[in-house]
Symmetry: C2
DNA sequence: CGCAAAATGCAAATATGTTGCAAAAAGAAT
DNA sequence: ATTCTTTTTGCAACATATTTGCATTTTGCG
């Protein structure tokens, strides 16, 4: 063996600094959102920051270093929603999925794509859809969500 | 009293014939979808045909004349989905909601609007959103769903 | 009418959240 | 740092929505 050890160390160091940076950001975010900075909240926020797709409670919990109670995870996510940090969104599964509310246009986030074959959901961050235009008088739009089903590049 | 009685009879007769027509249609629909024509299926299909918004299992069951088991309702709806007659859609509530798959454009149904104040969901049948265009290569779209939250005319 | 396949009912299991309450931790004041 | 108040957390129980296995009934067909 010659290369592997170095590479592993490098990955470790990178991971370490990335994690540090995220950690600092997460703490600041919590404070500016008026939420108490608890270990659990910081970790959940970090998981969401690193997520590439909306996650449900179980998936979030599985990615935590510490053991957090199911209830706590749900309550934390709810507090994030209230603070405007996080959105709930719909995917193919029954469980609620959560994702950071950044990267959203004024009244809508990016669309989500769920593959009907492999069941994976991913974010179409660069795909843009206009807001509905011909909505009847009297309706006030607060949020528009778009979900697309089909075959992903892997499965098509 | 002079007018009312007539009006009531008229409504009754209309309702009766409408129901008859729907019933006949429902049977034909089942046969052509390759599904056995059972009483329960016909009734559930009729409920969906008359629905003005997506309904969940409980709401569907409440509108049936006969007593159908919860399980049967779910299984019937699943068979309708498989046959392409029905779509599942997401509303604000946690339960699945179902609606007929007619009135859909090739790859998308009408958007659904849920009022964040009164929590009612309604179909925006005449509202049109174009299909996403700039979706990356390799994705095959099978269905696009749009959900809008905001205030309905009653609540705004 | 009789038969095979499919649909239904029922009870139990599962998945997903939520609530009430007591214990622990956070942040502010001292 | 210590104390005090408020918020957060864990735990157990509850609630809701849906699914599964299996025995029974019904449907469509010859």
């Amino acid at each position: 063996m010659d290369g592997p050890p170095v590479k592993i160390v490098s990955i470790y160091i990178t991971g370490f600094y990335v994690k540090k940076a995220l950690n600092r950001a997460a703490k600041e975010i919590l404070v500016s959102a008026g939420l108490r900075r608890t270990g659990g909240r910081v970790e959940i926020l970090e998981v969401l920051q690193q997520a590439k797709m909306p996650l449900n409670q179980e998936e979030i919990q599985a990615q935590l270093d510490r053991d957090l109670n199911r209830t706590t995870v749900y309550r934390t996510l709810e507090s994030f929603i209230q603070a405007g940090l996080v959105h709930r969104c719909f995917v193919r599964e029954r469980a609620w999925h959560y994702e950071l509310a950044h990267n959203c246009r004024p009244l809508q986030c990016h669309p989500h794509f769920t593959c009907t074959n492999c069941d994976r959901t991913l974010c179409l961050k660069d795909v843009f859809l206009p807001l509905v235009k011909d909505i009847p008088d009297g309706f006030i739009i607060q949020r528009q969500q778009v979900r697309i089903e089909g075959l992903c590049p892997n499965c098509s």
